[in-house]
C-alpha cells in the first residue's frame, strides 16, 4: 500500500506526497501535461526540443544543473507522446534546491538564442544517434505513420524529420512555454524522506505565487477504427530481417489495457511464453521475439516484433506468429499460464514500487489520468482479468483489419 497526501494550490498546481523515512533521499517529480501529441503537425519534435531548453537556465538561476550537483543530486527528464516529465533526486536536507530551480523555470525560462542554437544541434545528433545510425533505429518513425492516420501519435517524439527541428524559432519557443508550461497544467509529486507538512510549506512558498496561465488545449483528433490491413516493406543496411506487427488497442483507462498487457506477457513475457517457446526454441524461426504494448494515454498499440533466423522467409515467419495467436482467440489457454502471468505482473509491480523515483513518477502519471488511487488498485486490475476476458480481448484485437505490418528487409535480400 502506497500512502499519499494530495492538495492543490490556488494556481491549480496539484501536489502529491508519499512519505517514506526509510530513505535518506527525496524524489521530486514534475510532470507537465504536454507531449508530442500536442504539437503542430508542421513543427513536430517541439515538445522534446523544448525539454532540452528547460535546462538552459531560468530568470533567477542561470544554470539548472550546477546547483543540483552542488546539492549532491541528480536530475533528468524525458518527453513522450503524452507528457513531459522532469525529476530531481536529492539528499533530504537539500530538497529545497529542487523547489527553487523547478519553480523558477516554471515562472520564467531564460529564452537565450545561444541555447536554442546549441540544443537544436544536440537534438539533431540525438536524432542520428538513436534513430538513424542504429540498426532498426527508424522502426518507430515508420510504424507510427503506418498505424495512425489522424491521431498525432502518427509522429515520434523526436519529430517526423530533422527539418522540423532545424526550423524552430525563438518566438515559437516562447509561445510554447506560455501555452503549456503552467502550474495549472502540471503535477508535482514527491516521494521519500519528506513529511506532507514540509512538502506543503515548500510548495506554497516556491510555486504559490506563479500565476495560472491560459493553457492551449486543442482537441486531439480521435483515430478512426482501422478498416483494412496495412503493410509497409523497407530495405535497410541491417544484417538480419525483421518483422513488426501492430494492432490497435484501447486507451490506458480501458479494461482492455490490462488484458492486452497480460496477453503480451503470455506471448513473450518470460522463458515459458508461447512465442519464445514455440518460435525461438521449437521451430527456430526467430533469433529473438518480443510482444509489448505502448501504454499510451489515448488508444495505443499492441506490438509483436521478431528478428528472423537466416534462411527463414518472411511469409513463413508471419504465418507462424498468427498460428500462435489462434489458441488465445479460441480459448485454448492453460489456466496455469494465466496464473503465471498474474504472478509475474505482481512481482514486477512490487519490484518497481521499491524505488522512490518510480513511485513519484507513477503517482504523477495516475494523477494525470484522473485517479492517483490507481497506484494502489493497479495490481488488483491485473488480478481481476479472467480467462474469458483474455479471449474476448484477443478476438477483438487480433483481427486482420486491425493489423499493420512492417517488413524490415536487409539490403542483400
Amino acid at each position: 500500500m502506497i500512502h499519499f497526501n494530495r492538495f492543490t494550490l490556488d494556481n491549480g498546481l496539484r501536489v502529491l506526497v508519499n512519505s517514506d523515512d526509510a530513505t535518506p533521499l527525496v524524489a521530486f517529480n514534475l510532470l507537465y501535461q504536454v507531449g508530442a501529441k500536442h504539437e503542430n503537425p508542421e513543427r513536430t519534435g517541439f515538445a522534446h526540443l523544448f525539454e532540452h531548453l528547460m535546462f538552459g537556465g531560468s530568470k533567477n538561476a542561470k544554470n539548472f544543473d550546477t546547483p543540483i550537483q552542488m546539492a549532491g543530486g541528480e536530475s533528468n527528464a524525458f518527453t513522450n507522446n503524452d507528457f513531459t516529465n522532469y525529476y530531481v533526486i536529492l539528499p533530504k536536507a537539500n530538497i529545497e534546491t529542487a523547489f527553487w530551480l523547478e519553480s523558477d523555470r516554471m515562472l520564467e525560462l531564460d529564452f537565450s538564442p545561444k541555447t536554442l542554437e546549441v540544443q537544436r544541434q544536440v537534438v539533431i545528433e540525438e536524432y542520428k544517434q538513436r534513430y538513424l545510425n542504429q540498426p532498426y533505429g527508424d522502426v518507430w518513425l515508420l510504424l507510427r505513420p503506418l498505424t495512425y492516420k489522424v491521431h498525432p501519435y502518427r509522429w515520434a517524439t523526436i519529430g517526423k524529420e530533422i527539418r522540423h527541428i532545424e526550423k524552430a524559432t525563438l518566438e515559437e519557443v516562447k509561445q510554447f512555454f506560455y501555452h503549456h508550461y503552467a502550474p495549472n497544467n502540471a503535477i508535482l509529486t514527491l516521494s521519500g524522506n519528506i513529511t506532507p507538512g514540509e512538502a506543503e510549506k515548500l510548495s506554497r512558498k516556491w510555486f504559490g505565487e506563479i500565476p495560472a496561465r491560459q493553457v492551449d488545449r486543442r482537441d486531439i483528433p480521435v483515430e478512426p477504427a482501422q478498416k483494412e490491413p496495412a503493410t509497409l516493406s523497407v530495405r535497410r543496411p541491417v544484417p538480419v530481417n525483421a518483422i513488426y506487427l501492430a494492432y490497435h488497442i484501447g486507451d490506458r483507462l480501458s479494461g482492455d489495457y490490462y488484458c492486452a498487457d497480460l496477453i503480451s506477457d503470455l506471448l513473450a513475457g518470460g522463458p515459458s511464453s508461447r512465442l519464445y517457446q514455440h518460435l525461438v526454441k521449437e521451430k527456430q524461426l526467430f533469433s529473438q521475439i518480443d510482444a509489448y504494448i505502448t501504454g499510451s494515454v489515448d488508444p495505443g498499440l499492441f506490438v509483436i516484433s521478431g528478428n528472423l533466423n537466416p534462411g527463414i522467409s518472411m511469409e513463413r515467419a508471419e504465418a507462424a506468429i498468427y498460428n500462435e495467436l489462434y489458441p488465445l482467440i479460441q480459448d485454448r489457454l492453460d489456466n496455469d499460464e494465466v496464473t503465471a502471468m498474474k504472478n509475474k505482473a505482481e512481482s514486477a509491480w512490487m519490484y518497481a514500487q521499491m524505488h522512490i523515483l518510480n513511485r513519484a513518477m507513477n503517482l504523477a502519471f495516475f494523477e494525470m489520468l484522473g485517479d492517483p488511487e490507481r497506484i494502489n488498485t493497479e495490481l488488483e486490475s491485473f488480478r481481476r482479468v479472467e480467462r474469458n476476458d483474455i479471449t474476448r480481448c484477443a478476438q477483438t484485437m487480433f483481427s486482420e483489419n486491425n493489423r499493420s505490418i512492417l517488413y524490415y528487409y536487409k539490403e542483400s535480400d
Partner: protein
C-alpha cells in the same frame, strides 16, 4: 484553510548541507556448510527476496571463447531432472525473474522471487546450479541467437570503436581485450561447457547475497538447498592467476564504417582498479573531466558546440586492472574538432589547478551519488557484489569518503600529469572516414 503564500527570495539559492556520512552498513555474514559465503541485507517491509549468486572466473578464465557466458546463459536450459521448458514454466508460474550474465571476472545469477514461493525457488535454483546438463540442442539455439545479436552489434559504430580500443589496450589474446569472431559461435562444444562448469561453478568459488525480507524460514531453506551443494575436494581453494598484459598500443586508428551517420570515439588507457591508492583522486578527476552531466567534456562538446548527444569518461574496476576511457558519438564533420577538444580538456587538467568551487561541486555530487547507490537493500546487494568481485574490503566506502574529502586541486593536477600523458593514450574512431 486559508494559507498565505510567502514570497520567496529567488535571487538567493536555498542553503545546502553537503552529505558528510554515508549510511553504508556491512551485510550480515554467514557461512554455508559447503564453504560458500552468504551475505544478508534485511528489509522486512518487502514480501519478496532478491538472491544474487556470483562465481569468480568469468570470461577471464575461459579456455575456449564463449565458454563462460554460454555456461551461465544455458544453466537453466535443462538439468538431470527437468527440461528447459519445465524449468521455464515453474519460474514463470511463481512470478520469478531469473537473470544470468557473464562479465570479465565473474558469472552472475540473480533471482527475484515472491516470498510465498521461496521454498520452490530455492530448490529449483539449487538444482540448476548443482546439476545442469547443457543439452546440445538448447546450447545450439542459444549460440545461434547470440550470433545473430552479434551480427547486429557489428553495425554499431560505438560498439566497433570500443572493440578495437580494447584490443589495442589489452591485446587481442588477453581476456580483457579479446572480442569474439563469428566462428567462435560454432566452435564451442558441450565438453568445453562441462569443463568450465566443473572448474568454476563450485560453491567455495562463489558467494551469495540475500536481500529483502529474509525470514528464519528462508535462511534455513538456503542452508538446506544452496548450502548442500557439495564439491570435490580437488576443487577447493582454487585461485585465479593474473594474465600479464602485453604493452598497449597508444596512438590513433580509424575504423571505417561506410555510410555511418556519426563517428564514435573512444580514448583511454589501462589503469588500476579501486584497490589502488590513487583510485579516489582519479575518480574525482575523472568526474571533472567526463563523469557527470556538468563535466568539462559534456559542457564543451555538447553544451557549447552541439557536436554530440553525449560524451562520458569512466574508470572501470576489473579484478586485475582498471580501464580509463572516454566515449561518445559525434557529428562526423566535427570529429577532428571533438578530438582536439578532448585533448584540450586533458591538457587543462595537467596545466591548471581545478577551481575550488568546481572541486567542491564534484565532491558533493560524488557523495550524493553514493548515497543514491546505497538506497535500498537491493542496491546494497549490488554494491556488495562488485566489491567482492574485486576483492575489496567492506571498509572501502568509509575510506573512499575520507579520501574524496581530502582531494586537493594540486592532487588532481599531479594525477593528471602522472596518468594522462597524451602520448600514453589510445584513440579509436569508427565512422565513415
Amino acid at each position: 484553510m486559508n494559507k498565505k503564500n510567502i514570497i520567496p527570495d529567488r535571487k538567493t539559492p536555498p542553503g545546502i548541507n553537503p552529505v558528510r556520512n554515508l549510511n553504508w552498513y556491512n551485510p550480515e555474514k554467514q557461512f554455508l556448510d559447503n564453504g560458500m559465503n552468504l551475505y544478508i541485507f534485511r528489509d522486512s517491509t518487502l514480501d519478496a527476496t532478491q538472491l544474487n549468486i556470483s562465481f569468480y572466473g568469468g570470461t577471464y578464465t575461459e579456455q575456449k571463447p564463449l565458454a563462460a557466458s554460454t555456461v551461465i546463459g544455458t544453466l537453466q536450459e535443462g538439468t538431470k531432472k527437468h527440461t528447459a521448458m519445465e524449468i521455464a514454466r515453474q519460474f514463470d508460474f511463481w512470478g520469478s525473474y531469473l537473470k544470468t550474465s557473464a562479465s570479465n571476472d565473474n558469472l552472475d545469477i540473480s533471482l527475484f522471487f515472491l516470498n510465498r514461493y521461496a521454498h520452490e525457488n530455492l530448490e529449483l535454483i539449487t538444482e540448476i546450479i548443482r546439476e545442469p546438463c547443457f543439452p546440445e540442442n538448447e546450447v545450439a539455439i542459444y549460440l545461434n541467437n547470440r550470433l545473430e545479436e552479434w551480427r547486429i552489434r557489428q553495425e554499431q559504430v560505438a560498439w566497433l570503436s570500443r572493440k578495437h580500443f580494447l584490443e589495442r589496450i589489452f591485446g587481442e589474446k588477453h581476456p580483457y581485450g579479446r572480442s569474439y569472431q563469428a566462428k567462435d559461435f560454432q566452435t564451442v562444444q558441450t565438453d568445453d561447457l562441462e569443463q568450465y562448469y566443473r572448474l568454476h561453478l563450485q560453491p567455495a568459488n562463489g558467494f551469495c547475497i540475500l536481500s529483502g525480507n529474509i525470514t528464519a524460514t528462508i535462511l534455513n531453506e538456503v542452508k538446506n538447498t544452496l548450502g548442500s551443494i557439495s564439491m570435490p575436494a580437488s576443487q577447493r581453494g582454487r585461485s585465479i592467476e593474473a594474465i600479464p598484459v602485453q604493452s598497449s598500443t597508444p596512438g590513433i586508428i580509424s575504423i571505417k564504417k561506410p555510410n555511418a551517420l556519426q563517428t564514435a570515439i573512444t580514448v583511454g588507457k589501462k589503469l588500476f582498479n579501486r584497490n589502488h591508492r590513487d583510485y579516489a583522486g582519479f575518480q574525482i578527476m575523472n568526474t571533472i573531466l567526463g563523469g557527470y552531466f556538468g563535466s568539462r567534456l559534456m559542457q564543451n562538446l555538447r553544451e557549447n558546440k552541439g557536436l554530440t548527444y553525449g560524451i562520458y569518461s569512466s574508470l572501470s574496476s576489473f579484478r586485475f586492472d582498471g580501464l580509463f576511457s572516454i566515449q561518445g558519438e559525434v557529428d562526423t564533420a566535427g570529429r577532428d574538432t571533438a578530438l582536439q577538444e578532448i585533448f584540450y580538456e586533458i591538457e587543462q587538467l595537467r596545466k591548471e589547478k581545478v577551481p575550488d568551487h568546481e572541486l567542491q561541486l564534484v565532491k558533493n555530487y560524488h557523495m550524493g551519488n553514493l548515497l543514491q547507490a546505497f538506497d535500498g537493500v537491493m542496491n546494497k546487494a549490488d554494491l556488495t557484489r562488485s566489491l567482492l568481485i574485486t576483492y575489496t574490503p567492506f571498509d572501502y566506502f568509509s575510506r573512499l569518503t575520507k579520501e574524496i574529502n581530502a582531494v586537493t586541486p594540486e592532487k588532481i593536477r599531479s594525477l593528471a600529469q602522472k596518468y594522462l600523458d597524451p602520448e600514453s593514450l589510445t584513440v579509436v574512431t569508427a565512422g565513415p572516414k
